[in-house]
């Protein structure tokens, strides 16, 4: 009986963690201030914000 209770506690903890993390999800962020480019950048990521 005590073994069953221990297993149930383990299972409940796993479910709780996975459900919580999945519900929270990742950060959305915001739209980048960088423009859609009409010039050739010199290097990857070299475009300054709002150029």
């Amino acid at each position: 009986m005590r073994a069953l209770v221990a297993a149930a506690i383990g299972l409940a903890a796993a479910l709780a963690i996975v459900l919580t993390v999945s519900a929270i999800g990742g950060p959305e962020g915001s739209t980048s201030p960088k423009p859609l480019l009409t010039t050739v950048p010199n290097a990857p990521g070299a475009v300054p914000p709002g150029k």
Partner: protein, 329 residues
């Protein structure tokens, strides 16, 4: 004491063993998604390309044509569409901007691509467009789904505004990654004129002269199967203006012809980005599930071993000393 320890170990064993499938089949499909705020630029080049010179009214060979492609996630629009779509949506505003060897404008193609953040399947909503024309994509564009399969996919062709199969052609090594190679050939197809052309030529002016625009391409992608992100892209792209006798003195004239390849520094940058992202995906699909399963099994074995030891007959059981009672006759 040993029985208590074995019970704690059993609880931990079940915890980790349960986490393994839950992470892979519950958490991963919900957590793995394209972020709505992504910004990415790519530079492609076509060396010794043929280009139509609108001043000279003839095709000329130029040392280089550069294509700058920017993808920008529009977070506000994705939030709006998510409300009605009822799922995580990504809105990519993209611009493909073509410049000649002198940095002069050749053409541009703005697009809005709306898709499911998890499956990358197209989502249809107001604003979905190519060069200002409303479209309804049936296939993927720019990116393959996570855990890409060895099969053909429907891929959207922005010039013809239609989707056609892009064929899986094999697995190859590319910059230390095992990637899937895909190929799509679009046969000669009549396509609309871009809204913006050099020297202020408009589609209306081009149509008045009776010109028609035709295009053919062989599109190649090397795709990381874990993230679904292309690490390299090439295109053998040809464009012709037909029915051109009145303007150009011949029926067909090449508007563009070239082998377009990603600039080497962008290949390196993309490979580095993909390698970083694939580690995150592999954590959820492989490293953590298998690690937790192994840990759970080990803890269960340890728990059973402790339990067995506590029940061994040779082990003195904890007893309480009782004084013998006095015997009375």
């Amino acid at each position: 004491m040993r029985r208590k320890a074995s019970l704690i170990l059993l609880a931990l064993a079940v915890f980790f063993a349960a986490l393994s499938p839950l992470l892979r089949w519950y958490a991963f499909p919900r957590l793995a998604k394209v972020p709505p705020s992504q910004y990415q630029e790519t530079v492609l080049e076509a060396k010794n390309a043929t280009l139509l010179d609108y001043k000279q009214f003839k095709s000329v060979t130029v040392p280089k044509v550069t294509i700058v492609q920017t993808l920008k996630g529009n977070v506000e629009e994705s939030r709006k569409i998510e409300k009605t779509a009822g799922k995580d949506v990504v809105v990519w505003d993209s611009l493909t901007y073509v410049l000649d060897d002198k940095g002069q404008f050749v053409s541009k193609n703005p697009e809005r691509y709306i898709f499911d953040a998890h499956s990358q399947a197209p989502v249809h909503a107001t604003g979905e467009m190519v060069d200002g024309d409303p479209v309804k994509r049936d296939g993927i564009e720019f990116k393959w789904p996570f855990l890409t399969e060895k099969r053909d996919y429907e891929y959207f062709d922005a010039q013809s505004r239609t989707s056609a199969p892009i064929h899986y052609k094999g697995t190859v090594a590319f910059h230390g990654l095992k990637v899937y190679y895909f190929e799509q050939t679009i046969p000669w197809t009549r396509v609309p004129f871009p809204k913006a052309m050099p020297l202020g030529v408009t589609p209306e002016v081009a149509k008045q002269t009776g010109l028609t625009r035709w295009y053919s391409t062989k599109r190649m992608f090397w795709v990381d199967p874990v993230t679904g992100g292309p690490v390299n892209g090439e295109e053998i792209h040809q464009e012709e203006l037909r029915n051109a006798t009145a303007l150009f003195g011949q029926d067909k004239i090449t508007a563009f012809s070239g082998h377009v390849k990603m600039r080497e520094d962008y290949v390196d940058h993309t490979v580095a980005l993909i390698k970083k992202n694939r580690t995150l995906i592999l954590l959820l699909t492989s490293y953590l599930p298998w690690g937790f399963l192994g840990l759970g099994t080990a803890l269960l074995a340890l728990s059973l071993w402790l339990e067995a030891r506590s029940r061994r007959p040779g082990t003195p059981a904890p007893t309480t000393r009782t004084e013998p009672e006095p015997v009375s006759a």
